[in-house]
Symmetry: C2
Subunit: 260 residues, 2 copies
DNA sequence: GACTATTTGTACGTATGTATC
DNA sequence: GGATACATACGTACAAATAGT
């Protein structure tokens, strides 16, 4: 015996998944739903709230507003391609290039701060004291819409040795390459991926509609002796990004491309 | 000019993030909140609904129920360790072993079906027609709680060549190893990771509380000539799993371990 | 098992505010 | 300003779930 509002939500959900309502289409208005189901407005709103929190629709108020079926545009982040130190690819450049290849217009803002290391990240950087760290932040837009934030933390000792890290502007050749040239190569990484609902702060910065989870991505870079020298955290809009790794024998993928 | 229920939610959220309310603690009951904020019950419920959808609390009805601050237990899935074909690790075994090393009790149910390939996956398997495929499904539990589902799809032509794939029971040595022995090695993979809110079906199967996103993981395995021979899809509970890759020179991590 | 107390869930109604065209 | 659509907030009543007597 499911409740009324759940049944209504189920019907609307069905129409969306069947394709009777396609992305961009509008659901009936609240009064129309009240009418056609003969329920109170509150009940309609309960049903609609479910769909919102499932990420199926967004609601825009106002005269020509309404409840609109969401679309899912996916941008691909090739984690195993960025930052080939021995190759010639710089981090941010790689990202920008990749987005362009996917036919979109990437932009980014950038700034640098010095702040205490968040506890979760301190562990990854092997700094016992909650010592300060240099952070290079950027907020990335695709077609003018914010889609991810990226923060990279370097331990203070490293910033002392490589003062260029403190440059308040973007580093054209890429920090990974810069560090390699200064004698701090990163021959190995550890990536972690997790998902969760966004904090209110993330909702604001990424302009997230309700019902949009985020994907949090950490990359820790290590020196040859195993010491970690930086942690990068990217927060992706979940409805607009996916992360891809290609692993194993690279010639296989060359065979694959030539076959196409 | 934020609304009343958002202010209330913000205060409660603060108490959680500050640690005044710790995981397992109960929020005040609805009547208590109605009282202390002097608002209607509906307003309290709106505030609470926000926290639920942010994944911060779960609500249990009944006499000794209440609104409880959620905890986040994280299980690690080492994507770059499973399925070392040349090594000695079988897929499911690897998973089970890993969970055990993390001090928990893994179990799994298993079944096999033959069904049409979902459209998104058909593309990855390079099968133009929506031809049937063999699916090996399993639902995985940790400490008795469902934490992920795994479905692996094989194209029909492969199942014809390797009839063992149709075995309705678990394959002890692991299908990857089995296939390699039969002349179908997988020297390369492509992994895709994305996040979204769960479908009602996933909510049921994984017993997900509201506000829990899921992480969807695809691994496509390729033959040396580039032909794909299987797609595995894992759906992880987002609040209980993270995926880890170690990339690059493996000796670096050996240095790291010896240093500890 | 019956009964009760507590806590959340569902559903109704009404009124007014805010956003957008 | 006026019209339309959703947002917030109040109130009420009864149902369902759970735990203890």
């Amino acid at each position: 015996m499911t409740s009324l509002y759940r049944k209504i939500a189920a019907e609307l959900r069905d129409q969306i998944s069947r394709g009777a309502l396609r992305p961009g289409d509008k659901l009936p208005t609240e009064p129309q739903l009240v009418d056609s189901y003969s329920v109170s407005r509150n009940t309609v709103r309960l049903a609609v709230a479910l769909l919102v929190n499932e990420g199926l629709i967004v609601i825009v108020p106002g005269r020509n507003g309404g409840m609109v079926v969401r679309d899912r545009v996916t941008l691909t982040y090739h984690a195993s391609r960025v930052e080939q130190v021995d190759g010639l690819v710089a981090e941010t450049d790689a990202y920008m290039t990749e987005v362009q290849q996917q036919g979109r217009e990437p932009t980014q803002t950038f700034h640098l701060t010095i702040e205490a290391l968040p506890a979760e990240l301190a562990e990854r950087l092997d700094v016992a004291d909650a010592s300060s760290a240099v952070v290079r932040c950027c907020l990335r837009f695709v077609n003018g819409e914010p889609t991810s934030t990226q923060d990279t933390y370097y331990p203070k000792w490293l910033a002392d040795e490589v003062p260029e890290l403190m440059s308040p502007s973007d580093i054209p050749q890429g920090t990974t390459r810069l560090l390699a040239e200064k004698g701090y190569p990163q021959p190995a990484y550890r990536d972690e991926l997790l998902t969760r609902m966004p904090t209110p702060d993330e909702v604001r910065r990424l302009e997230l509609p309700a019902g949009t989870p985020i994907m949090e991505y950490h990359r820790t870079g290590y020196l040859p002796d195993g010491r970690p020298i930086r942690v990068t955290r990217i927060v992706f809009r979940g409805d607009a990004n996916r992360v891809v790794y290609t692993l194993g024998d690279p010639t296989v993928f060359m065979n694959r491309e030539s076959a196409e």
